[in-house]
């Protein structure tokens, strides 16, 4: 089971969280976003085979969205933080 470090609650079991998808998909500006911007936001994903920034909802905990940087090949969690935080690359 994944152990996810919620920045608000500490280390918790994966079962307390709900996956909320790619954190890199950025919502276009409502005034200036073009059709193409919206299409890319809604449908296209980088889907990398390596490090992936993603949102998880601590649904059975503090109920806040958090950002997780995870290696999707090894499932290793590199860093976690608030959605607006910039996360470490894991290189030490």
């Amino acid at each position: 089971m994944l152990e996810i470090n919620c920045p608000y609650c500490g280390k918790r079991a994966q079962k307390e969280f709900t996956y909320a998808g790619d954190a890199g998909a950025e919502r276009p500006n409502l005034e200036t976003g073009t059709n193409q911007d919206w299409f890319e936001f809604v449908y296209l994903r980088n889907n990398p085979r390596g490090l992936h920034d993603e949102l998880w909802h601590h649904s059975a905990g503090c109920r806040r969205l958090i950002k997780v940087r995870r290696d999707v090949v090894t499932h290793e969690i590199i860093d976690t933080g608030a959605p607006s935080d910039s996360l470490s690359t894991g290189a030490s």
Binding site: M1, L2, Q14, K15, Y19, G21, D22, F39, E40, V42, Y43, L44, R45, N46, N47, P48, R49, H52, E54, R70, V72, V73, T74, H75
Partner: protein, 418 residues
């Protein structure tokens, strides 16, 4: 190709089965091919087979990074069905189901297709309505579908708990009698043998690491065994479509996720049909070896690892036991996972692209095994003619941009919810 028959069996029995020839060659890659298919799973091999058989294109290589059939083709729960609501899906999968019905004969290889029926259980009044509507849609599209009340369900799967005490009481089920299961490895082997006999080179241990593009068209690939040229390149890499597309600088409406499956210890025959549940999204059948084969939902987070996590295993097993209390005594023998493309509308993508000569076959979500012959059939057509077959016109890549999604579940652009 050495034809398999009762006579070849008898002849080889005389020499203690020591003189059977190899089923396919193991060639080194040539410098150039007319068509390169990336991925020797069922889809890639079927595509090569139909390129040769239906279109006379035999200067073809299938490049495989591991061994043939070692991907999802060898990892799935082998359910073959055509019980969809939307016409694009239903017509395509029904075509595939018809090919399954003649596949062992066509390939001269026993793919052990067993039409034991697939029952999709309904647990609420709303599900009863939805299942009956889907059954009618199937019939209108030329497939078979039969509504069973709960006693008729029980007659076909006696170990099911149909009492009102069940966690998800069973109201009835939608049966597709012609659906069933097949031997997963045999499908890859049969297509490999048939393609090889027609001149296709199947090259294993050959990972594609780059796609060479010049003036808006493909010219070849880079691989772990050197560069290979081709003017047409088609991907058939299941969960790795996004990874290959990135080599051609494309982003796709796909996320890669891990799906697990598991088997119990083998027991005597006790379930001779396939049971799937609309409430818990689990599916269960019994293999010829006697193991109960079970699967459920994705692990739900992006993954390129061919293994999953314990919470999902627990949920699948709990759901199965809630339907079949007798199975609670069995021990779980083995679990495994496979990486799947989850598309943004839950339907596959079989398409040409904006890059000349570059074709994509992916986005199979939970259900690409049953599509294997149909997918190879229409993908070969698409590659040979540079234009889609009637049955995959709807599965174009540009449908997302233009709003022609084929969203069977109606769950929108959330790949893990399909």
């Amino acid at each position: 190709m050495q034809k398999y028959s009762i006579f070849s069996l008898a002849r080889n029995a005389l020499t203690s089965h020591k003189n059977w020839g190899e089923a396919w060659r193991n060639p080194d890659p040539k410098q150039e091919y007319d068509v390169i298919i990336i991925g020797a799973g069922g889809h890639g091999l079927a595509t090569a087979y139909y390129l040769a058989k239906n279109h006379g294109i035999t200067n073809v290589a299938v490049l495989e990074k591991g061994y043939l059939g070692g991907g999802n083709t060898g990892r799935n729960t082998t359910i073959v069905r055509a019980n969809y609501l939307l016409p694009e899906n239903e017509l395509f999968y029904e075509h595939s189901l018809k090919l399954w019905e003649g596949l062992s004969q066509d390939l001269n290889f026993n793919v052990m297709f067993s039409q034991r029926g697939v029952i999709n259980l309904a647990h609420t009044d709303a599900q009863v309505d939805a299942h009956q509507r889907r059954g009618n849609a199937m019939i209108l599209n030329g497939a078979d579908g039969v509504w069973l009340n709960k006693h008729e369900v029980k007659a076909r799967a006696p170990l099911l708990d149909i009492s009102d005490r069940a966690r998800f009481p069973i109201k009835g089920g939608l049966l597709q009698p012609r659906a069933g299961t097949a031997r997963h490895d045999a499908v890859a082997w049969g297509f490999a043998r048939g393609a090889d006999a027609r001149g296709v080179d199947i090259i294993q241990n050959c990972e594609v690491t780059g796609i060479d593009i010049e003036n808006g068209g493909v010219v070849g690939v880079q691989t772990s065994r050197g560069a290979i040229k081709a003017k047409k390149i088609g991907t058939a890499v299941a969960g790795h479509t996004g990874h290959i597309a990135a080599m051609a600088e494309m982003r796709l409406p796909i996320e890669s996720h891990v799906l697990q499956a598991m088997v119990s210890e083998p027991v005597k025959p006790c379930l001779d049909t396939v049971v799937t549940s609309g409430a818990t999204h689990t599916y269960i059948s019994q293999s010829d070896k006697g193991e109960l084969v079970m699967g459920g939902d994705l692990d739900l987070y992006n993954s390129y690892a061919q293994r999953g996590n314990f919470p999902r295993i627990e949920e699948v097993v709990a759901s199965v036991i809630s339907m079949f209390p007798a199975f609670s005594r069995l021990r779980l023998m083995r679990t495994w996972g496979g990486v799947m493309d989850m598309s943004m509308d839950g339907s596959p993508i079989i398409t040409k692209t904006d890059i000349n000569g570059f074709y994509i076959n992916g986005g199979w979500c939970y259900g690409g095994f049953k599509a294997t012959p149909g997918s190879g059939w229409v993908y070969a057509h698409t590659i040979a003619n540079d234009t889609p077959h009637k049955l995959n016109e709807g599965f174009a890549l540009n449908r997302f941009e233009h709003g022609y999604m084929i969203d069977e579940e109606g769950s929108g652009a959330t790949p893990n919810a399909h």
